[in-house]
């Protein structure tokens, strides 16, 4: 290993008064080396982003570096002034952000934003800048470079935008690339491509890369070195093999253990049980009017979707964003109206009902939502949130609140929680409240829409366990929607793969993983990060 390009020593960054803890980063030290990727891993709030921002002098005004040192090419970055930073940024140290949509100026063409990098450092003539921009666009593998540099960000897909961001970061061949969760917002297949791109570019340009992520799968795919952060402190550091294969610290071990295994556990077939939910021929097309004299824009969210869920069974619905899986969940819930098709619960045709009749049947199928922050009304107390549905069905409030307390116990929360507001709970706790709300109406079927996607991996594991447990105890059936094949492998009896509004493959989980038939299924499976070197 050569000399470090960047050397962080004993970095302490103070948070403003009133924050959860006094220091965002407390005594962090690690090195970046040319040609190596260092993954900084940690759950949300671990201080990993602060480290990244400190490396570019982009810390918010409210936080202060208290002590420590960041050495880069012999200079202490912490004492660099504004002009010094301006010179370094983009030219020597570059950064790629998490959200490629918001990280690009929506009002400027991609080309302009690319050429700006040269302009910032007074390099090249405008004509050369354009040629260079084209070359860069080509290098990051974007199709039709001439079109791309004239395009606005919103005209590109998420992956394309991230490639453009990477092109921007590479423009001046920086010594260091800081990538702050660059693939978190992307689909798995896209993520796989971007990871590969970063890996390749880093090798060909011999860059030092600091890669921030919370996903151990990604770490397994890309890291040379790993730094594990927790509450602003380094708990473990070492080569990728060492940390992933022989974790020393308990925290690292716990984190790794929480990553769902890619091997589906054996499951009993439930195909002979009666059907709890049956979906036949669901169609849904969104039509966006575009004006008088042009064709309407149509988006097919669901096309001839058929499936059935047997009692006690969990059916997984997997696919990438835009595949229509969430639309199907909402169609099944009658949150949106289908163009065609029926949804049957037991012997009731839900699609034929309306108004009051529909409302009286709704309790039979309940939903758990994705975002633990958005799924609870911030202005209602937890007790009321759980009890509201029962009250709507005619249960007296007293009784409903009593039941709410029981349910809170059932999902592992303190019964006293009924008097508190959602913001007093953590993400995982809120998700439990959401589950309690769903259970309050004694449903037969639960639809879980990305119910664990927003949670940190350790919490994710707990919630998944809870779901599995409740399902078994209450004899529920479940439609489980997820983009994460690892999660699906752990919880689903059968999996339906969706692409562009259609189910392309539906099989028992083990069979699907072992023998994917459809090309798209194979692509999905191949893209799952960390698959090649399955973590412990």
């Amino acid at each position: 290993m050569g000399d470090p390009v960047v050397s962080i020593k004993n970095l302490r960054i103070a948070l403003p008064r009133g924050a959860e803890r006094t220091h965002a980063v407390d005594g962090v030290s690690f090195d970046l080396t040319a040609g190596k990727i260092v993954c900084v891993v940690g759950e949300s709030g671990s201080g990993k982003s602060m480290c990244a921002h400190a490396l570019l002098g982009l810390l918010p005004d409210t936080v202060k570096v208290e002590s420590g040192e960041i050495a880069f090419e012999g200079r202490d970055l912490l004492s660099v002034d504004q002009d010094g930073w301006r010179d370094l940024r983009g030219r020597r140290i570059a950064m790629v952000f998490q959200e490629p949509m918001t990280a690009l100026n929506p009002l400027m063409r991609i080309g302009e934003q690319l050429m700006e990098v040269f302009e910032a450092h007074d390099l090249l003539s405008p004509k050369e800048r354009r040629a260079k921009a084209l070359a860069l666009v080509r290098e990051v593998g974007l199709p039709d470079p001439e079109r791309i540099i004239r395009a606005y960000p919103h005209q590109l897909s998420g992956g394309q935008r991230q490639r453009a961001m990477i092109a921007m970061a590479l423009a001046l061949e920086p010594a260091v690339l800081v990538a702050d969760e660059p693939t978190t917002a992307l689909d798995v297949t896209t993520q796989a491509q971007i990871l590969k791109l970063i890996r390749n570019l880093q090798a060909s340009h011999n860059m030092a890369v600091m890669f921030i992520t919370h996903d151990f799968g990604v770490v397994a795919d890309i890291a040379d070195q790993v730094v594990v952060l927790r509450h602003g402190k380094v708990v473990e550091e070492g080569t990728a093999e060492a940390v992933l294969g022989r974790p020393q610290h308990d925290y690292t071990k716990a984190l790794l253990a929480a990553v769902p295994s890619f091997d589906p556990p054996p499951r009993r077939s439930r195909e002979d049980a009666p059907r709890a939910l049956e979906v036949v021929g669901l169609d849904k097309t969104y039509v966006t009017p575009t004006g008088w004299f042009r064709p309407k824009r149509e988006t097919r969210a669901a096309h001839a979707v058929n499936f059935a869920i047997h009692q006690g069974e969990t059916l997984g619905l997997v696919g990438e964003s835009g595949s229509g899986k969430s639309s199907v969940a909402r169609l099944v819930m009658r949150l949106i109206e289908a163009d065609r098709g029926t949804v049957r619960i037991g012997d009731v045709d839900l699609t034929a009902l309306d108004g009051r009749a529909l409302r009286t049947q709704r309790h039979r199928i309940q939903m758990i939502f994705q975002d633990p922050f958005a799924s609870l009304n911030p202005r209602r107390k937890v007790g009321r949130i759980i009890a509201d549905g029962m009250v709507a069905r005619g249960t007296p409030l007293e009784a409903a609140l009593k039941r709410a307390q029981e349910l809170l116990g059932l999902v592992g929360l303190d019964a006293g929680a009924i008097g508190r507001y959602p913001h007093e709970f953590s993400g995982g706790q809120r998700q439990r409240i959401g589950i309690a709300r769903a259970l309050a109406l004694d449903p037969e079927i639960i639809v879980a829409d990305e119910a664990v996607s927003a949670l940190d991996v350790s919490v994710q594991a707990q919630v998944l366990r809870l779901l599995e447990d409740l399902k078994a105890r209450l004899g529920l059936s479940m439609l489980f929607i997820t983009h994460d094949l690892r999660v699906a492998a752990q919880i689903c009896d059968r999996i339906a793969v969706m692409q562009k509004g259609e189910i392309v493959e539906l099989k028992p989980t083990a069979a699907l993983f072992a023998d994917p038939e459809h090309a798209y299924t194979r692509e999905l499976l191949a893209a799952v990060p960390g698959r090649k070197q399955e973590v412990a």
């Binding site: 990280a103 302009e119 921007m168 004006g291």
Partner: protein
């Protein structure tokens, strides 16, 4: 784009028709009619006289028939006849519209230009004395009644200092031509335009400042910083352009309402615009004229809204020509 404009125009026409119908009946709800007014002024008012006037004005016909006649006229771009002023409404409005447009557009340009400038300064130097000064001043202008500013301005600049003329559109009878005339009109324009513009300037200042500070926090500004761009460029190219989008929207709404909202300014400064024409027409129950002013100023609002939307679309590539 053409389809977009066509669509908007058709919608605008429908809105205008609705405005005509509503106002037609609304105005006639007011007690008294032009005959009553003129009878009062003539100093004699037996029933024959009033009846004659009503017949002359067509007020003796049933309301729906009157409406029909009016709408038919509008269809052939005829805004009707002002019996009160004995002239076609279109002519009366055409005489006044340029003055109003001159006043409002100048006020608009001043307020937008200075408002954005001050807003940018305040945002650029957020937290400094300059920021505080601009913010406080903007707040005060925002809170001061317009007519009050006008009164004080006349006192200060016309009466005491004698720098600026206090009323009118030009020096009557001076017979200036060419540049002299333009300068003369300009001198007359200063106070009314400034008075009218102050409130809006304050609004734009506040809005630009707030919007800039908000945009400043967005990710793409961080990207720009990470590229090593100079602050000036970041401010101009990335922050300002994005921050101006809501200002453009608001300005579009204002530009239209300015036309009809200049009543006070035009009254205090004797500016011969349609705001005053409207007020006079109202006081005299000059139905056709009042309706005409409403139609024209509403049309202005629609036109300005359309222009704003077009500008917006020009500035913001994300918006397509959808309805």
């Amino acid at each position: 784009m053409l389809s977009f404009i066509a669509q908007r125009v058709v919608k605008g026409v429908i809105v205008l028709l609705a405005i005509i119908v509503l106002n037609f009946f609304l105005i006639r709800l007011a007690p008294g009619d032009p005959a009553v007014v003129m009878a009062g002024e003539a100093g004699a008012s037996d029933q024959i006289f009033v009846a004659q006037l009503r017949e002359k004005f067509g007020l003796d016909r049933p309301l729906p028939e009157q409406l029909l006649i009016y709408v038919k006229g509008i269809a052939s771009l005829d805004l009707g006849f002002s019996f009160r002023q004995q002239a076609p409404v279109a002519k009366l409005i055409a005489e006044r519209l340029p003055a109003t447009l001159l006043l409002t557009l100048t006020a608009f340009a001043i307020s937008l230009g200075l408002g954005i400038l001050f807003g940018v300064l305040a945002a650029r130097f957020a937290g400094t004395f300059l920021d505080t000064a601009i913010t406080v001043l903007a707040l005060i202008f925002y809170a001061t009644p317009l007519f009050w500013i006008a009164l004080i301005a006349i006192l200060l600049f016309s009466v005491w200092a004698d720098w600026l003329p206090s009323f009118g559109y030009e020096t009557v009878g001076a017979g200036y031509t060419g540049l002299r005339h333009a300068l003369d009109v300009g001198a007359h324009l200063v106070m009314p335009a400034a008075t009218l513009g102050l409130f809006f300037m304050a609004t734009y200042t506040r809005m630009t400042r707030a919007s800039m500070l908000e945009v400043k926090r967005l990710d793409f500004v961080k990207t720009a910083l990470a590229k090593g761009l100079r602050d000036g460029i970041i401010l101009r190219r990335h922050v300002l352009r994005n921050a101006l989008l809501p200002v453009v929207t608001l300005a579009g709404v204002h530009a239209g309402t300015l036309v009809g909202g200049a009543v006070l300014t035009e009254t205090v400064f004797a500016w011969p615009g349609i705001g005053r024409l409207m007020y006079d027409a109202l006081i005299q129950r000059d139905y056709n004229l009042l309706l005409g002013v409403f139609v024209v100023s509403s049309a202005m609002v629609l036109i300005f809204n359309l222009v704003t939307d077009l500008v917006y679309r020009l500035v913001d590539p994300r918006i397509e020509y959808a309805s």
